[in-house]
Amino acid sequence: MIFIINGTLRYNSYDGDLYLIDGSIDMITLSMVMNELMLLMIKSNRVPLSREFILNDLWSKKGLNSSNNNLSNYVSMLRKTLTHCGLHDVITTIPKYGFVFSADVEVLSERPECRNSLSIDKAESKSVLSLYLKFKGFIKYNRNFLTGKDLLLLISALVFYLFLSHGYIYSQFKNIVGYDRSFKVNKCNVKLLNDSGQKLNMKDVTLSLKIMMARNNINCGKKSTIFYHYNQDGSALNDSGSQIFFAYCTGDRKLPCVNYRVTK
């Protein structure tokens, strides 16, 4: 809500902003508790409020503890702020009872105001600014309810997580085999493993695969996969005369993968 107090001070209860209409002083933003206190007093204009009522409304209702001294400090700070804005003696102390706020209060708007003193013309910019102000207002409105312990817990958990996951994530990438390519040959799902970093002639690869499949009577069923490692030179046997790698894994988990190796 936006209020005009004594015709000079504009107060926005949504974000706790106070500024003089004539612009003679810079805008002041109240802290969250002071803002709530201010709003409570304005809504009870000219009605005496007991200390118990204020303590209950501002703290006890939310499960928080506070004291008379604490309340006196906030009232004192609010008084000084209002005095700075030219509103002298609007808050009066009622001995052994509480406080009363007395001023001419006019409700200007029921809705929170998005300050737009920059006179931005573009609709898009307006909506971005509006969103930003709403987000800023929300954070400011809620930040005091996140205690230091909450934040400490969150930060500790994050640090702990990063510490553990750093090594884990690194090793994940380090020790998982990547496929160079995945394709189908004669209804077989083929996953090509190639760590040479060189471009392969896929015609040669496919031909080599077909020869291997025909040689070993492989007819792929559903979910069967062939893992194939192709030599750089594209020959069936590598230079050391050891083998090429060709593994046929069926979709049936009970069956082992059959690996084929050809040696000279």
Binding site: Y141, Q172, F173, I176, L193, N216, R253, P256
Partner: protein
């Protein structure tokens, strides 16, 4: 109680839940470093020399235990240079260290050097790698170009 008060009071609960989730996930990451599983593969080694035509078949069983140890069981039949076929069954113990979803294996060196069957597999070193290739298959590798796909049980 208005909606703003409700929002403010509850704003701290997501923080606690997020913190708890992060801590639990961290612990899960630590706990998942050692998992127990077994993996099976069959290897058919075909000699392609012009004057001979022989196929040796090996069954491999890899067991990864939780205590950083495991074993490799190799069984099958082989044809030696005198064309005599014989059955064999060998167990090779190893220790391992986990890296992500993969494992670095270190075989018992004495067993590697004294085991003639392993020469057919060209296993002459004591280091192997077990890397994940999909959600239930691993790729066992040793030396260069020596690869073997196995499926988890």
């Amino acid at each position: 109680m208005n909606i703003n008060t409700l929002l403010r009071v509850r704003w701290r609960y997501p923080v606690w839940i997020i913190s708890l989730f992060i801590l639990m996930h961290s612990l899960w990451l630590t706990g998942s470093q050692h998992q127990r599983f077994t993996c099976r593969a069959q290897l058919r080694v075909e000699s392609s020399c012009s004057q001979c035509e022989k196929v040796n078949v090996f069954d491999l069983f890899i067991a990864i235990n939780e205590n950083g140890r495991g074993y490799l069981l190799i069984s099958g039949s082989r044809v030696d240079s005198e064309e005599v076929r014989s059955n064999f069954n060998r167990v090779i113990d190893f220790t391992y260290s986990k890296q992500g979803e993969g494992y670095n294996l270190r075989l018992n060196k004495q067993e590697v050097t004294s085991n003639k069957v392993l020469s057919d597999l060209k296993i002459d070193g004591d280091k192997m790698n077990l890397k994940m290739i999909d959600y239930h298959r691993y790729l066992l590798s040793w030396r260069k170009d020596n690869l073997l796909a196995c499926a988890m049980d």
